[in-house]
């Protein structure tokens, strides 16, 4: 398992690097509005092909690009019921504080544990490389956090 982590993360990183080429694109349906097209899903022409990168059947990453926004959804590895509960509670905690994370989505996409929504406005303010570093780091750390929490629960139970 550990052997595939690095290639998996490199794959996600390079795909994100290519997907995060965003530009400002005001809404074509409502004047003076600017909406992330990947969320609105109005025009097919503005949406690009979504790419899924699976590491195992339990762990995968979905990247849905569009002209002005990208939605990144991550399914975290949950080996047993305890990890499922911990993951659910932890991601709920993070998603409630989504404003602090700026790019996080308050609700995860269906079938995934947690989602990010990156828009052109974010890329104008933040370095693209650092943003990708953040997402990759997040993916690494969340696995470690959940394992640590599981150990803590088990040791407390004893």
């Amino acid at each position: 398992m550990a052997s595939t982590l690095k290639p998996y993360l490199t794959c996600v990183r390079t795909t994100l690097n290519a997907a995060l080429c965003l530009r400002n694109f005001p809404s074509q349906t409502v004047e003076r509005h600017n909406k992330p097209e990947v969320e609105v899903r109005g025009s097919k022409e503005l949406l690009l092909n979504p790419l899924t990168i699976c590491r195992t059947d339990k762990e995968k990453c979905l990247i849905e690009p569009s002209v002005n926004s990208v939605r990144i959804s991550i399914q975290i590895k949950q080996a047993d019921e305890l990890e499922e509960v911990l993951c659910h509670k932890f991601t709920r905690f993070l998603m409630q504080r989504a404003d602090q994370f700026i790019i996080m989505r308050r609700k995860a996409t269906k079938g995934y544990s947690i989602s990010f929504l990156v828009t052109h406005a974010h890329l104008e303010k933040m370095w693209k490389d650092k943003l990708i570093d953040f997402v990759i780091q997040f993916m690494e750390d969340i696995d470690k956090e959940i394992s640590a929490m599981k150990l803590a629960v088990n040791s407390r139970a004893r």
């Binding site: 595939t4 998996y8 490199t10 390079t14 690009l48 092909n49």
Partner: protein, 133 residues
């Protein structure tokens, strides 16, 4: 580019894919991996133009058959002579394969190797091209 492709053409394309599968399988057993991969990725227009999932998955199965047969250390050699357009098509197939959890290990290695040769443009083309694999 194929003009005027309709659902009626799907049967003919499926037959083509079957024929391709036959020749590819024989090349794979002879360990002619370069030939097998080039044959599997040849004539993609009709498969790309088709809207039928059967046609696309049948062709994808042929390509993955070759990919699975090639060992990790041989990947570089196989990719050496490939045309850039074929490389782009291969990248699309790599992403299609990565969509399901089987062969994730080897496909991630293929992704890195193909990326070296086609660059981030290859990834952008798999995202933007309406004609999906």
């Amino acid at each position: 580019a194929v003009v005027g492709y309709t659902m009626a053409d799907d049967a003919a394309v499926l037959a083509e894919v079957e024929a391709r599968k036959g020749s590819v399988t024989s090349m794979v057993t002879q360990k002619n991996f370069v030939g097998a991969l080039t044959a599997a990725l040849a004539d993609p227009e009709k498969v790309l133009a088709s809207k039928s999932a059967n046609v696309k998955s049948a062709n994808a199965a042929v390509v993955f058959q070759v990919i699975e047969a090639i060992e990790d250390k041989e990947i570089d050699g196989v990719l050496e002579g490939l045309d850039p357009l074929v490389m782009d098509l291969l990248m699309k197939y790599v992403y299609k394969g990565l969509g399901t959890p089987e062969n994730a290990n080897s496909l991630l290695k293929w992704h890195a190797k193909v990326l070296e040769r086609c660059g981030p443009g290859g990834i952008v083309r798999s995202m933007t091209d309406r004609k999906t694999v």
